[in-house]
């Protein structure tokens, strides 16, 4: 779990900084002089080596300091909390649809007769499979089912 979190944080961090963008320029726009950009780079530590920046980022993160947005100047923690209701709604809707489809499919799979049971199992795996890494198995079984006709 910790390993996954570490790689997620690393990937997010790298995507931001290696995307070819210039965060200082994103803050100021294109009219700022190189001296102004240098000052902002220094302020945020953008001029430090990437590994140093990542280390500082992790250090702040584990101490609960998510900092402030570069452009919005708003506390990141506040920004996350403000968007939380919308995120919660999307997540809950996702769970709702999974249940709405999964429960009847599960019930189909539970029937003692052959065909419905097998098909129900496949759909169950299709719905629940990918999130738990079983998508590959579904593809395999579907292919097997088609071949066996």
């Amino acid at each position: 779990m910790i390993v996954v979190l570490f790689f997620v944080s690393l990937l997010t961090f790298l995507l931001f900084f290696l995307g070819g963008s210039n965060p200082a320029k994103a803050i100021t726009g294109t009219h700022a002089t190189p001296q102004v950009l240098a000052r902002i780079n220094e302020y945020y530590g953008f001029d430090k080596p990437l590994w140093t920046q990542y280390g500082l980022y992790l250090w702040h993160l584990v101490h609960g300091n998510t900092g402030t947005g570069y452009q919005t100047q708003q506390a990141v923690a506040t920004a996350i909390l403000q968007r939380f209701p919308a995120t919660a709604m999307v997540a809950l809707s996702g769970i709702f649809f999974e249940l709405a489809i999964g429960i009847p499919v599960g019930m189909m799979a539970d029937r003692p007769t052959g065909q419905f049971r097998h098909r129900g199992r496949l759909v169950e795996k299709a719905v629940c499979g990918p999130p738990t890494g079983q998508g590959g198995q579904v593809a395999f079984h579907s292919a097997a089912a088609i071949r066996s006709r």
């Binding site: 995307g19 070819g20 963008s21 210039n22 320029k25 994103a26 803050i27 100021t28 726009g29 294109t30 009219h31 700022a32 002089t33 190189p34 001296q35 102004v36 950009l37 000052r39 902002i40 302020y43 402030t68 452009q71 919005t72 100047q73 708003q74 506390a75 920004a79 403000q82 968007r83 709604m89 809707s93 709702f96 649809f97 709405a100 489809i101 429960i103 009847p104 499919v105 019930m107 189909m108 029937r111």
Partner: protein, 558 residues
């Protein structure tokens, strides 16, 4: 059978839920528009404006975008501003919180252009809950706050003030050149004469703020602005809306015509196509973004809606740059040839109302612009002749760099064709917007041929020549890395020329030299196409600021 029915019911419920969610996401209230518009201003009502983006913040020390400035200028004021009128009249410098524009004649500019004196209008009050009267000390405090703000992007306009750099470096406790002479008078002394400093004092970076309010809200000042302007910001839901209501203390300034509507509602994250539909349904009054190019001609030519379309050329230009550090663009004849090769009339046609051709450096609306002036005609034969003289009778191969934002890819093809017609084989390299912005400015990119755009910081030709055609530094705005000692000398001398007419003549001289040396090909001047609702009165697009929301009213008082 039973199972199947349960399945059907659940799927139906799921579909209904999806529909409900979708509707809440798109839902909005409707309102009726009423009687035909009248031309006399009317008090009352709510002005509803849509923006696709959102101000990143409303701290005047930091904010520098159209959305931010349009809303910020409802709340914050500066000593000077530009006349709130469309067209050429909008390029005139006028006082805002100052009693008059400093000139040599009224003694406001003295010591050969080094000392600027501003007299503060009496009885200017901060909005509630602060309510105190503004004094010169408030200006000094606000200015020093801005110069010390690490994220302030525009300090370079003001580092010419005596003691400013020392203050920024932490070597002084205040800016010695920014003096509070008395509670109603500010005197600013520069290291050397610099007439454009006057124009830099129109920018919202120099707004007066309340120390008491900044102390109270701390970092939230970015989200909770408070100034002396006609409106106060009462709410800001990030990503969604900002609401502004009338500032009751503004009337003490005795200014008319800046507080018609009771309330303004700015909605963000609005897709411009959807915003247009909403305006036509009567739910929106002003489009904060230009009319989508795909819809523009249809709406403009519509008998019902055409009269609500308002177009204004912006004080902005889009141009080709040639990197004089890269062969063969170090050869002046090659650069002149390319000027003859490009067909700006064709580009204007391609833009279909989004821009008008420009054949000089200064766009219409900028002092220095000369109607009908064209430095280079479209003459492919002349271009080929010059290329032959330069040693390229069969042309050469090069790369044209651009970003992927419309209309640039389409214009790139037109430019490629124009160059091919004179023997120059240009391959097109497209990048995304922010990558291109970072790429083109660096010497190590060897970006030999590309385009750029520049919009005004303030309405003066020094803002064109200085950043773009002097002092080439890595990462700066002089994309061609070009300079010329004559132009630089003229530019430096213009800083102390107090006669406005002579000053403009000097800039036209600089323009002549630049266009003779041809490190650039002017292409076009963007046009802002906006639209307002049937019930909006007084609407215009300002050549520099774009929007002056405080000047618009609702003809039905709603």
């Amino acid at each position: 059978m039973k199972t199947r029915r349960i399945v059907l019911v659940l799927v139906a419920l799921a579909a209904l839920a999806a529909l409900a969610l979708a509707l809440t996401a798109c839902g909005s209230s409707t309102s009726t528009s009423s009687s035909p518009s009248s031309s006399a201003p009317k008090s009352g009502g709510t002005l509803r404006v849509t923006f696709q983006g959102e101000p990143t913040g409303l701290d005047p020390a930091i904010a520098w975008e159209t959305e931010s400035w349009g809303i910020e200028r409802l709340t914050y004021q500066t000593f000077l501003t530009y006349a709130s009128k469309p067209g050429a009249a909008g390029s005139q410098l006028v006082p805002d919180l100052a009693t008059e524009v400093p000139t040599a004649a009224n003694g406001g500019i003295s010591d050969g252009g080094k000392v600027f004196t501003f007299h503060l209008k009496p009885n200017i009050k901060f909005a509630p809950p602060i309510n105190t009267v503004v004094t010169a000390a408030d200006f000094k405090w606000s200015f020093e706050r801005m110069m010390k703000q690490p994220l302030a992007p525009a300090t370079f306009f003001y580092t010419g003030i005596v003691g400013a750099q020392a203050y920024m470096d932490g070597k002084a406790k205040s800016i010695s050149g920014f003096k509070v002479v008395d509670p109603q008078t500010v005197q600013i002394t520069l290291e050397k004469p610099d007439v454009p400093f006057l124009f830099a004092m129109t920018m919202p970076f120099t707004s007066v703020m309340s120390k008491a309010w900044c102390t109270e809200v701390g970092k939230q000042i970015n989200r909770k602005p408070l100034g002396t302007g006609p409106y106060t910001i009462t709410s800001w839901t990030p990503g969604q809306e900002i609401t502004a209501v009338r500032n009751p203390n503004f009337s003490s300034q005795g200014v008319k015509g800046e507080q018609w509507v009771d309330k303004m509602e700015f909605t963000f994250s609005a897709n411009p196509g959807m915003a247009l539909l909403k305006l036509q349904r009567g739910e929106v009054d002003v489009l904060g973004d230009p009319i989508p190019p795909a819809d523009y001609l249809r709406v403009k030519n519509s008998p019902q809606w055409g009269k609500y379309v308002v177009s204004a050329p912006q004080i902005q230009w889009t141009y080709l740059f040639m990197n004089v550090l890269e062969k063969p663009f170090d050869n002046v004849k090659v650069r002149q040839a390319i000027n003859y090769a490009i067909d700006t009339a064709k580009i204007e046609k391609l833009l279909a109302g989004q821009g008008q051709q420009l054949n000089q450096i200064f766009p219409k609306g900028l002092p220095g612009y000369q109607a009908g002036k064209q430095y280079y005609t479209h003459d492919p034969a002349k271009a080929k002749q010059l290329l032959a003289e330069a040693g390229y009778p069969n042309g050469f191969k090069t790369t044209y760099y651009t970003n992927n934002v419309d209309p640039q890819p389409r214009l790139a093809q037109s430019i490629q064709n124009d160059l091919a017609a004179v023997g120059i084989q240009a391959s097109i390299k497209v990048m995304d917007r922010s990558t291109y912005d970072s790429f083109a400015v660096l010497k190590k990119s060897h970006c030999s041929l590309g385009w750029s755009t520049w919009w005004q910081d303030f309405t003066d030709p020094s803002d064109w020549i200085g950043p773009l055609f002097t002092n080439p530094v890595d990462g700066g705005a002089n994309y061609g890395f070009w300079e010329n000692p004559q132009v630089t000398a003229l530019y430096n001398a213009s800083g102390s020329e107090l006669d406005p007419a002579k000053r403009i003549q000097m800039f036209q001289q600089m323009e002549d030299i630049i266009m003779q040396e041809a490190p650039t090909v002017p292409l076009y001047q963007p046009i802002w196409n906006s639209m307002h609702s049937q019930d909006t009165g007084g609407f215009y697009i300002h050549p520099g600021y774009v929007f002056n929301f405080q000047h618009y009213w609702k003809t039905n008082g709603q």
